[in-house]
């Protein structure tokens, strides 16, 4: 029963090595992105001795330069990205850092990180502008911290050496801590310490997981390395994989924040200065989602799959819980903070549902949430700067005195509640469709209720603070030109994402095919019919039945396929993904699995009989999804024990 499915391993023909194409330019740009920010931070601190305005300008120019560079990268790799469906980095820098421990200074760029660093620099500009008037004391040190947070976040999005990643992950916390603890509001110290301790503890759990992965990989290959690409192929016992994955997951879930790990968020967001809130909501939370996409799913596909029901349940709880608590707040900033819990619940749901609809939605949700929530925090900051309060009850009737500011508040509140035509809607809608597609009807229904709840808090936000009679006789200045300039691009991007998201999705798809094996399998499945036979070599998968049949196993009754029984027929059998590490090492071979085909044709009790360690995981992952036609014994469906050979061959 050979054949059936032979797929060309189509990535092979591309410059999959990745190192070759653009290492030289990458060296300049990727390192420069970080160095510019670090240097600007020091310079801003230094010049603030003479002029606070100079410090602001230094920061603004530095972030703008980085933003321009990231746009240049978009332009430069716009075409390359559509050519390189995963496997290869667009650009990278790789230097030995600590040879004794196998640590590399390895920054690499792909579509996902490019997207997120662009968002980082965009919100960076916004937060520098938002602090222009708000921060009047310790201006130099403030901008030092601001620049270093942005540098740390950029490092997180670019690092593909796990040590470097952890380094950047921890590094971004300290300046954030200072930002909250020094320039925050009334309960700033409490909020800052809480933030730091939550993130630090979860980060250390991730460190244990990183080290466990490092040593397991060493035991299998004899090589000490923190390289993402090398660790990808590490094979682990399911139980071990689950434990190690949980370490990563907790770190990212705290950042995200997922429902039981969120208590730091309302405090930190509320007490931080405006720039701090923008960066927290717009960027820091995204590092959690990024980590899930970049590390948890690709490194531990099996464990993540097993854990998905829990994650999805918590995500949905977060959606509802965040929305309800947001509805109950009277402090504007706290309200906006809780909406983040709800919105990021959608992102988490999308990531763990894991089909291409949901993943597209999650990514879109990340971007749109960054913009709309960032804008809301900025607006609340502007309101507070004028009125010195964030209490809804005291603010009623602002529309009369500051129509432009109130109008923008309403715009972004509508965005946040998921008004069609704006970015957030697209994200949440796609996540819901994806969840529905995955036959998770119950979760979909509850999540939809979350969307409904968001209507209540968004409308309450607008109605209580801005509408109604101006009982307190507020009379303050409306938006200044600088503030209008800040808001216009955010409005424009949100509308663009909402009305014409296709160009962004085009970028996403290549990104996703790399991140998410299951997404890849789906796309492979869809294009199965159109793929031709390979000219020479390729990944071949074939199920072979073992004959002669050994005696039937004891209960549950199952048969081994033999002569007089009609052999099981594969009806859905996508090809496995060729692991990057194995391909680099040019490992080929056959993974032999034993499986029981259940009466309904699904695969059960997969057991590995042998094969190259690096190839076992992808083979298992893909065979798990196979479906057979029912096997009939005397007309009755039965279980079948069968052996499956998955051949991995590289094209010459």
């Amino acid at each position: 029963m050979t054949g059936g499915l032979v797929l060309r391993e189509h990535r092979r023909s591309l410059p999959a090595s990745g190192q070759a194409p653009s290492a030289a330019t990458g060296l300049m740009i990727l390192v420069a992105l970080i160095v510019i920010l670090l240097a600007a931070g020091v310079l801003a601190w230094f010049v603030s001795r003479w002029s606070a305005t100079a410090a602001r300008w230094v920061s603004l120019v530095a972030v703008s330069v980085d933003f321009a560079l990231s746009l240049a990268l978009w332009a430069g790799y716009g075409s390359a990205m559509s050519l390189a469906p995963g496997g290869a980095w667009l650009d990278q820098v790789n230097r030995v850092w600590v040879p004794q421990l196998g640590i590399h200074f390895h920054l690499a760029l792909d579509g996902l990180s490019l997207l997120l660093i662009t968002l980082t620099f965009f919100l960076g500009i916004i937060s520098v502008l938002a602090s222009w008037r708000e921060i009047q004391e310790g201006v130099g040190f403030f901008h030092f911290n601001l620049m270093w947070i942005l540098a740390g976040i950029t490092g997180v999005f670019l690092a593909v050496d796990l040590f470097l990643f952890y380094f950047a992950w921890e590094l971004m916390l300290v300046p954030m801590y200072f930002l909250i603890a020094i320039w925050g509001h009334e309960r700033r110290v409490y909020a800052a310490v809480k933030f730091f301790i939550f993130t630090q503890l979860s980060g250390l759990l991730m460190l244990i997981s990183i080290l466990a992965l490092y040593f397991i990989h060493h035991r299998q290959t004899g090589v000490y390395t923190f390289e993402y690409d090398s660790l990808l192929g590490t094979h682990m016992a399911p139980h071990t994989a689950l434990l190690i994955m949980l370490g990563f997951f907790v770190a990212f879930a705290v950042k995200l924040p997922m429902f039981p790990f969120h208590p730091w968020l309302p405090d930190a967001h509320t007490e931080a200065p405006t720039a701090g809130s923008i960066i927290l909501a717009g960027l820091l939370l995204k590092t959690g989602a990024y980590g899930l996409l970049r590390f948890v799913l690709p490194l531990f596909p099996g464990a993540a799959h097993r854990f998905a029901p829990v994650a999805m349940a918590l995500a949905v709880i977060g959606i509802i819980y965040g929305a309800l608590l947001a509805f109950g707040q009277t402090d504007l900033k706290r309200l906006v903070a809780y909406t983040s819990v709800s919105h990021l619940g959608f992102v988490l749901l999308g990531i763990f549902v894991g089909n291409s609809w949901a993943l597209d939605g999650a990514l879109m949700g990340m971007i749109a949430h960054g913009i709309s929530t960032g804008a809301l925090f900025m607006i609340v900051g502007q309101v507070q700067e004028r009125t010195h309060t964030r209490e809804m009850d005291r603010l009623s009737g602002l529309w009369a005195t500051i129509p432009r500011l109130s109008g923008s508040a309403m715009f972004f509140a509508l965005g946040s509640m998921g008004l069609p035509g704006l970015g957030d809607f697209v994200g949440e809608f796609l996540v819901l469709i994806g969840t529905y597609e995955a036959h998770l009807i119950g979760l979909t229904i509850i999540a939809v209720l979350g969307v409904l709840a968001s209507t209540f808090y968004a409308l309450r936000f607008v109605q209580k603070a801005f509408h109604g009679p101006n009982v307190n006789n507020w009379s303050v200045n409306d938006l200044r030109p600088r503030e209008v300039v800040q808001l216009i691009p955010m409005v424009a991007i949100l509308i663009w994402l909402g009305v014409y998201p296709q160009p962004v999705f085009n970028k996403f798809n290549e990104v996703l095919s790399k991140i998410q094996p299951t997404a890849l399998q789906q796309s492979l499945h869809e294009t199965l019919s159109s793929i031709a036979m390979p000219p020479s070599g390729g990944v071949g998968c074939c199920a072979s039945t073992s004959t002669p049949a050994p005696p039937p196993k004891k209960a549950p009754p199952a048969i081994r396929v033999a002569g007089q029984v009609e052999a099981a027929k594969l009806i859905y059998g996508p090809a496995p993904e060729y692991p990057v590490a194995a391909r680099k090492a040019r490992i080929q071979g056959t993974v032999r699995l034993e499986a029981v085909v259940a009466k309904n044709g699904t695969m059960q009790n997969l057991r590995v009989l042998g094969g190259p360690p690096l190839l076992i995981r992808p083979a298992l992952e893909v065979v798990k999804t196979w479906r057979y036609q029912q096997t009939l014994l005397n007309g009755v469906p039965v279980k079948v024990v069968t052996e499956i050979d998955v051949n991995f061959t590289l094209a010459r």
């Binding site: 421990l101 004391e137 590094l171 300290v174 801590y177 200072f178 700033r188 301790i197 250390l204 490092y214």
Partner: protein, 488 residues
């Protein structure tokens, strides 16, 4: 003893000769600057002589001392730390009443004792080195005799150190009675020869030896002296007690337990595990309740020794490297932290109350910056040596799957974060703020002494080293690999 033997212990000879020279010099002419300068020259010469000695290593000098790369590395650490303490002492003791010159004699003798410890391969040199170190520390702790608490600290240290030394001596005697040897490597052979025996006496003896180690390292339950001595002793002396004395002792602990092979005995291993866990928990929890910066650092040092024990327990070559790396980072960090305290301390007492640090950043940004770097390093935050050290220790633990120890380390170090942040928050408080009530800087602010040149140099060098190792640990690792290869 041949000439080449004498050549091999050249660093020890220089360290032994310098205090004599300084003492004679004081007898001729009392000059603070001159004594300090002579001390620095002597230490620099001893440091340089380490390279001169390298070609003849490893060399066993009599039955007592072994001069190998490991010993030389730790001697270098001891000498460098003493050098920094001398720089700090110069500024500090200039502001104290009384004659400051003899401090340097005592410091040099204490450094000699520590250097003997890291080179010992025999119980006799172990005990000799320990006593040379301890006796000078009694006097150093109480050196500022015009104030009450330093004297109290000195007496406390004297009583407790003497009794722990008695335990240690008894333990050594028991081990000798059982095995008939006091040489570390011979102990291993003797144990191997008597395989299958129950070794009760040996175990009891080892337990007493652990008491001796535990006291000097301030591991729970032998830690009770630590907060009082840290608080009472003059800040530079505290820095010495916290670094040189503990570091030398830990170096010896590694050598003794690896060479004698007693580390692998299940009861001993269990005892160490309990001690490590208790130290991490007690140190961090008790530090959270303190309001005195020196006491906070005292309890935090207990916890840090617990962390190092995790690496020690992990075993293998990685563990020795991790311990050594951690100690280097800990030396730099602790010297830096106590350095800041020393330069802020005036004649009427050390700057050790949390209130002394309120708003320091806005008054003395450079000093506060150094202290911030040191505290972040103690907390294990990136860009500092402490981060790489903590990473290395956890990685050593993970390499041999000591998950329980690692979990305790991680959870307790998060408690640790709390009190480091408390000090940090205090330093950065006091920005007159539009939202909060303005917090006024402490009135003590005006009285902080000017930064002395020597103190400034020491702190700047320590900070640069801290960041250098934190960002680029490869060079230090290279040294450590070379130094520790002979131990396992």
């Amino acid at each position: 003893m041949s000439a080449s033997d004498l050549f091999a212990i050249l660093p020890l000879l220089i360290l032994g000769g310098t205090p004599v020279v300084v003492m004679v010099m004081i007898a001729i002419r009392r000059s603070h600057a001159l004594s300090a300068a002579l001390t620095l020259i002597g230490l620099a010469a001893a440091f340089a002589s380490l390279w001169v000695v390298v070609p003849v290593t490893p060399r066993q000098v009599t039955a007592l001392l072994i001069v190998d790369h490991y010993a030389l590395f730790y001697m270098g650490l001891v000498i460098a730390a003493t050098f920094v303490v001398t720089l700090l002492s110069y500024g500090y003791f200039k502001r104290q009443e009384g004659d400051p010159e003899e401090v340097y004699v005592l410091l040099l003798i204490a450094a000699l004792g520590s250097a003997v410890l890291v080179a010992s391969s025999h119980f006799v040199s172990f005990f000799l080195g320990l006593e040379i170190l301890s006796v000078s520390l009694y006097a150093l702790n109480a050196y500022v005799h015009t104030r009450r608490i330093p004297v109290e600290a000195g007496i406390k240290y004297l009583v407790l150190a003497a009794s722990s030394a008695a335990f240690l001596l008894f333990g050594m005697a028991l081990i000798y009675a059982e095995l008939g040897t006091m040489d570390f490597l011979h102990i291993r052979e003797a144990i191997g020869a008597a395989a299958g025996a129950s070794h009760v006496v040996l175990l009891v003896g080892t337990a007493f030896v652990i008491t001796g180690f535990g006291f000097k390292l301030a591991l729970v339950p032998f830690h009770l002296w630590t907060p009082d001595i840290y608080e009472g002793a003059p800040a530079p002396v505290t820095a010495f007690v916290a670094t040189v004395s503990k570091g030398a002792m830990f170096a010896l602990l590694l050598r003794y337990f690896y060479w004698s092979g007693t580390r692998e005995f299940a009861p001993i291993f269990l005892v160490f595990t309990v001690i490590a866990i208790a130290s991490m928990i007690a140190g961090n929890l008790l530090a959270m309740m303190q309001n005195n910066v020196k006491r906070i650092l005292a309890y935090s040092s207990i916890a840090h020794m617990g962390y190092v024990m995790v690496a020690f327990l992990a075993g293998g070559e990685v563990a020795v490297q991790a311990v050594t790396f951690y100690l280097v980072a800990y030396f730099i960090t602790t010297l830096g932290a106590f350095g800041v305290i020393s330069v802020l301390s005036g004649s009427e007492g050390d700057a050790d109350s949390l209130e002394d640090y309120r708003g320091l950043f806005w008054r003395r940004p450079a000093l506060a910056g150094v202290f911030t770097a040191m505290l972040l390093s103690l907390a294990g935050i990136p860009l500092t040596a402490g981060f790489v050290a903590k990473f290395y220790v956890i990685s050593a633990g993970a390499s041999t799957a000591r998950w329980l120890l690692i979990f305790v380390l991680i959870v307790t170090s998060v408690f640790g974060l709390y009190y480091y942040l408390r000090v940090l928050v205090t330093m950065y408080a006091g920005l007159a703020h539009e939202h909060g009530a303005p917090e006024l800087p402490a009135p003590a602010a005006a009285g902080t002494p000017k930064l002395s040149l020597t103190g400034g140099i020491a702190l700047a060098a320590l900070t640069i080293l801290l960041v250098w190792i934190g960002v680029y640990p490869a060079s230090l690792l290279h040294w450590i690999h070379a130094a520790t290869s002979g131990i396992v």
